[in-house]
Symmetry: C2
Subunit: 192 residues, 2 copies
């Protein structure tokens, strides 16, 4: 904290515990809610309740932290981790639970990259590869790429509308009830 | 063009023609693609191919132009202009056609307001009133507010995925074919 220890070469962290998770959550929030240029390590650290030097120790500078946060792999793995005939329901319930537990949407941040041609295109490329193409590869039947794009649309739309109506009817509904209403459409696109 | 005429007081415009439309399209693009603070009248004028003073003459300063652009009323009127039993298909086809004709999504810009608490909250309030509540009022059956939120989610998600996969399979599909795949889910939510 007073400087000398924080800047001394540190051994690799052996506890991937709550500090790391809190930093990741804060970084996802920051890169979702603000333009890239306005995000600071200091702000992320303050939000996570840790020192800026701890953020840098775990994740490096802003660009490296952004690359870590731009990884949709773990979210996609969790969202797609169900047999095909239950996948629609699993995706809706998982998405809603993750949003509520982690106070951030696992996919929606890619939408904020749409207006931004430079640094954020990494987000789009990762999304194509880790979400749309991964889903395309799992789908049976015809027009798999088109159906995967539309399934991604359903998931992004669910996150968007829940974020947009934070005090609305969707905020009060259980994940299972949201799946009752929203998952049949996904399942139809999955089945093909 | 050389100054004296452009800055002289001008009579109210009598032709609400292509100049106005071009300015509105450019303004929607600008407020969608950039944070509010980065949008300039000068940039909008350049994109629309008109002088900055013409923008101000038609729409006022940036804040007034933003309020005009934050109006979802005309888009909602067009999207919802069909009998209930054809509304799902009508919404998908209308959304896709509008996106392609006007090179901007009629609803998606509200999503960009999510991370922004101050000036953009107007966008969310207008969306709630002109889209979600208008839709709620038209729906039959139970849980109308929840279903309206999810229908809004489907529409936002369609726009998001088409924007995200600009060179993808969805970009090559006809509006009618997209409706074949995407509208049945909307229609189920509309029917209740």
């Amino acid at each position: 904290m007073t400087g000398s220890q924080a800047t001394a070469p540190a051994p690799a962290p052996t506890d991937p515990g709550s500090g790391r998770d809190a930093i990741l959550r804060a970084a996802r929030r920051a890169f979702t809610q603000r333009p890239y240029a306005d995000v600071t390590i200091r702000g992320i650290a303050a939000d996570a309740g840790v020192s800026p030097s701890l953020v840098v120790k775990h994740f490096g500078r802003k660009e490296e932290l952004f690359k870590t946060v731009a990884d949709f792999g773990p979210a996609a793995e969790e969202l797609f981790d169900a047999p095909l005939d239950e996948l629609g329901r699993h995706m809706v319930i998982t998405l809603v639970r993750r949003r509520r537990e982690q106070q951030t949407d696992p996919l929606l941040r890619v939408v904020f990259s749409l207006g931004n041609r430079d640094e954020r295109s990494l987000l789009r490329d990762r999304f194509h590869e880790q979400v749309t193409e991964a889903l395309t590869a799992r789908l049976p039947g015809h027009e798999r790429a088109l159906r995967a794009e539309l399934i991604a649309g359903h998931l992004l739309g669910l996150g968007a509308t829940l974020s947009l109506h934070r005090e609305g009817a969707g905020a009060l509904a259980t994940p299972e009830h949201l799946a009752d209403l929203y998952a049949p459409a996904l399942q139809t696109l999955i089945r093909g």
